[in-house]
């Protein structure tokens, strides 16, 4: 952990959480067969906090409810049960009018940079949209603010009048980030912001987000399925499986001392160039069960190699096991560090070579202050 991050993380541990989520649940009704109706339990009771300036990574495989969670946080989806508290206020079922002041503090970055920008609007209009719909007149005018934002995300401010189709994927994602920043939010939900980009661009965008987090003190809920990216970016990590958080804790705890078998399996799947062959890889049998009819008790038990009778009978609570900030929902948590196979060097290798692309976003990073992992490797 870099000194800068530690400095940022230390004071916030005492402050009130910016975002407090309790029992967040989303069930989608679906029709099955002729008259049958059943529920897809996309998200089933999440509890987590995000403190100001903190990044929480939400990882898990496809269909585990990450994106649904992200959309509920910014209220694009209505939660079925549970509460979302933002800045001490309950926004779970707030109407549009009540949400308006909060919208400015809570923004989202989308996954697909090709779908998230209106093709008929200029970049200037896209970025000014949040200002416009909230009736905000920034000092110096909208245009100046938009150009400032373009500069912040490493684009040429003169591109104000261009259309999205004239930009590449990475540049489009930067535009999406600029739009999210327009209202000076406190928390940004980043829904897989880099998974649609190719690897070299991913590193640039991640570095940009890191700088923004550092410079503007943003908190992030960072949704991803790429564990290397999450390790690189997030201070805390929550691992989701089938609509539930199975393990949550600080990055180093999760990556080096995972307690939940699923986390272990997930980490063992990170490809490692230093070790060829399938060594250390935990292979899970079968598929993820359907969220229409999740298994009783522990949801992971159908694929878990440690499962016993109690796992089917009783649902494990998400409680801290070994003390500290790490909590695991498992009856038989693992202990001890993982093998060196998934250690830090592998991740640094992963992100290192691609960061030195020399474009504006990455280039602005070497201002000398604060040395983080990826900058050293660059």
């Amino acid at each position: 952990m870099s000194p800068v991050e530690e400095a940022a993380a230390r004071p916030v541990t005492e402050t009130e959480p910016l975002l407090r989520v309790r029992g967040l649940t989303k069930h989608f009704p679906v029709r099955t067969g002729f008259r049958g109706r059943s529920l897809v339990r996309a998200v089933d009771g999440l509890d987590f906090d995000v403190r100001p300036g903190e990044t929480l990574g939400l990882v898990g495989e496809s269909g585990c409810g990450k994106t649904t969670t992200g959309r509920m946080l910014v209220r694009l989806l209505e939660p079925t049960v549970g509460t979302i508290e933002f800045d001490g206020r309950d926004i779970t079922h707030a109407g549009r009018r009540e949400l308006r002041p909060l919208r400015q503090d809570l923004q989202i970055i989308f996954q697909d940079p090709y779908a998230s920008l209106n093709p008929r609007h200029t970049v200037g209009r896209i970025i000014a949209m949040p200002l416009q719909v909230n009736g905000i007149e920034p000092p110096g005018g909208v245009k100046a603010r938009v150009q400032e934002l373009l500069e912040i995300v490493g684009l040429n401010p003169e591109h104000y009048n261009r259309y999205p189709h004239e930009f590449s994927g990475g540049q489009r994602q930067r535009i999406g980030i600029a739009r999210a920043l327009a209202l000076r939010p406190k928390l940004i939900v980043a829904d897989e912001p880099v998974s649609a980009l190719d690897v070299s661009i991913q590193a640039q965008v991640i570095n940009l987000l890191r700088e923004l987090q550092r410079d503007l003190g943003l908190a992030f809920v960072f949704i991803a399925h790429d564990l290397a990216v999450v390790r690189h970016f997030c201070q805390r990590v929550a691992v989701m499986y089938l609509g539930k958080i199975v393990e949550i804790g600080d990055r180093d705890d999760i990556y080096e001392r995972p307690q939940h078998p699923y986390t272990r399996a997930l980490l063992s799947a990170i490809p490692d160039v230093t070790r060829l062959g399938p060594g250390g890889r935990i292979r899970l049998a079968g598929d993820v069960p359907t969220p229409l009819d999740p298994p009783s008790g522990c949801r992971f038990r159908t694929r878990c190699w440690k499962a016993q009778d109690i796992c089917a009978a009783e649902e494990p609570a998400l409680v801290p096991r070994a003390g500290g900030g790490q909590a695991t929902a498992c009856h038989f948590p693992e202990s001890g560090p993982v093998a060196a196979a998934t250690g830090a060097p592998a991740v640094a290798d992963d992100a290192g070579p691609v960061a030195d692309d020399g474009t504006a976003g990455a280039g602005a990073a070497d201002d000398g202050s604060g040395t983080t992992v990826e900058e050293v490797s660059k």
Partner: protein, 335 residues
């Protein structure tokens, strides 16, 4: 979506990397999708020719009183002295001469050219008015049904289905005389404007369904797109969503359906006038002229020839232009 981004992206990439700001200050005005479509339309020869024809037709229709002045003959003037004892025009090809370019009507002896110019006016006015009204109704109902969904969508869909199930011709046949009788007595003369209004109303009642369905489908497809969600996450209201985010993205299909609806209304107007429920004989119209010319099909074929060719050329030009417009707006749909 990305129409032809190659040059644009290359340029943008160079510019974002470099720090040479001053010299490119003028070069960075982007081209909107609309401008790109216009450039494609300009390159399409069919579009240019048919578009030119349409402009010519519209100018002719708008300048009808002017043409009448220059030509020196009104649409209701009769030239009985140029007809023979059976009411047939003297001379060849239905009385074509230097004074009467397209000849004269048998029977009444009115000048065909000036009646065609005024008929063009009637046809285009009715068709455009009907197309604008149907497009408006269709867009409003389609966006509301598509965006809001729920029971409103169900109700609007149901009304659409109901309208589609009604037989157009039968209702038009029944409705027109009923309406006329409601406002005018048995023997009173029906004003031409009233006839035109009834026709437009009939078209408006039946014509909006296709636009509504088209718009609804497009809106549903766009509703879940991320840029719409981004606007919603920023707290945008209904008006902003519909007019700023959704509608600009569906102008293209609406424009195409509009340009293809106009010729359809032209032929429908002619057809209704032909079967006698449309305009009265007083109003010059293609349908009435063709209807009257049928009696003289063998004795004076020139009478059916001119309005027939005119309506054919008009509808053909509209259809070609509509297709070209579609190609230009949506280059992926064909070729």
């Amino acid at each position: 979506m990305s129409l032809s981004p190659v040059e644009g992206v290359a340029l943008a990439e160079i510019e974002s990397g470099g720090d040479a700001e001053a010299p490119e200050r003028k070069g960075v005005v982007g081209r909107s999708p609309g401008q790109l479509a216009w450039a494609r339309l300009r390159r399409d020869r069919t579009a240019m020719v048919s578009g030119g024809m349409l402009v010519l037709f519209m100018v002719l229709a708008l300048a009808a009183p002017l043409i009448q002045m220059v030509y020196g003959i009104g649409p209701r003037e009769q030239f009985q002295h140029l007809l023979d004892g059976f009411g047939m025009p003297l001379g060849y090809a239905g009385g074509v001469s230097g004074d009467h370019w397209f000849g004269l009507e048998p029977g009444l002896g009115r000048d065909i050219f000036i009646r065609l110019i005024y008929g063009l006016r009637t046809s285009l006015f009715i068709a455009f008015a009907a197309a604008v009204i149907t497009a408006t109704i269709g867009i409003v109902l389609g966006t509301l049904a598509g965006y809001l969904g729920g029971w409103l969508d169900a109700v609007i869909n149901w009304i659409t289905d109901l309208t589609l199930a009604m037989p157009f011709l039968v209702i038009a046949l029944a409705l027109t005389p009923t309406l006329v009788l409601r406002f005018y007595g048995e023997r009173e003369a029906v004003s031409p404007a009233f006839g035109v209004g009834v026709l437009i109303a009939v078209f408006a009642i039946f014509g909006w369904t296709s636009t509504a369905r088209l718009v609804r489908g497009q809106v549903i497809a766009l509703r879940e797109r991320e840029f719409v969600e981004a606007a919603r996450a920023s707290g945008a209201g209904l008006g902003h969503m519909l007019f700023r985010q959704l509608l600009p993205n569906i102008w293209a299909p609406i424009l195409v359906s509009f340009s293809l609806a106009v010729p359809q209304f032209i032929t429908s107007e002619a057809a209704l006038s032909f079967i006698g429920v449309g305009l009265s004989d007083e109003t010059p119209s293609f349908g009435r002229m063709i209807y009257r010319s049928l009696d003289y099909l063998q004795t004076d074929p020139a009478y059916v020839f001119f309005p027939g060719v005119m309506i054919f050329a008009l509808v053909f030009a509209f259809n070609l232009f509509g297709d070209a417009l579609r190609d230009a707006l949506d280059p992926k749909s064909s070729r």
